[in-house]
């Protein structure tokens, strides 16, 4: 599976120092806060709510994330510059990683 072909929500923003892609759940409070945090910082990013797509597709996505990052996907799962990742939303960690 090519993750870039997924139907992401694209959020525009003036800051794009890093490419940020967030795998989230529409029902999760921390996911909601991570997304709001980036919007508040006027950061450009993409996100997708895995709980709103077919089971087969999201299982493939989780398998790709598991293999690439050697972690069991928990949410929010942020992929930074297609190379690093953050799991969960701990604001200081996100600020440090994104240079905010």
């Amino acid at each position: 599976m090519n993750l870039n072909e997924l139907d992401y929500q694209v959020v525009e923003g003036s800051r794009r120092d890093h490419e940020v892609v967030i795998y989230a759940l529409s029902t999760c409070g921390f996911c909601k806060r991570a997304i709001s945090f980036l919007k508040d910082k006027d950061y450009a990013f993409r996100y997708i709510h895995l709980d709103q797509i077919p089971l087969e597709t999201k299982n493939e996505i989780k398998q790709v994330l598991r293999e690439r990052f050697k972690e069991n996907p928990a949410f929010p799962f942020a992929v930074i510059d297609d190379s690093r990742h953050l799991i969960g939303f701990i604001q200081p960690d996100w600020e440090k990683t994104l240079g905010l």
Partner: protein, 109 residues
């Protein structure tokens, strides 16, 4: 399967917290987000799947993540809040600190 509304879901969370001796997330907007998430999960899956865990496709596969999840007691003892931060310990509530994002024990061996 009859659907649940927000008030029924709030009642469920209050009953769980009272029975377990926990407190509910003190942040009103966070708490309401979680109530909505729980309600949506109940209405689409038929059970209160933890709002911060994705369904693995069946009740059997998700059974440990049905609220209150299997790991909530251990998480609350160790971190002061459950994984989705719906329930918090008496001491965290008394401290006034915010619940935080914690690791997910779901896939731990």
């Amino acid at each position: 399967m009859s659907e649940k509304n927000k008030e029924q879901t709030r009642l469920f969370t209050r009953m769980v917290a009272e029975k377990q001796g926990w407190k509910l997330n003190p942040d009103p907007s966070f708490y309401e987000d979680l109530v909505e998430g729980l309600m949506n999960n109940y209405n689409r899956y038929g059970y209160f799947l933890c709002p911060c865990r994705d369904s693995d496709g069946s009740r059997e596969a998700d059974k440990n993540s049905i609220c209150p999840c299997l790991w909530s007691r251990q998480d609350i003892l160790e971190y002061g809040n459950c994984f989705c931060a719906l329930y918090i310990s008496q001491s965290l509530a008394a401290s006034g600190k915010q619940p935080s994002s914690i690791p997910d024990r779901r896939y731990e061996a």
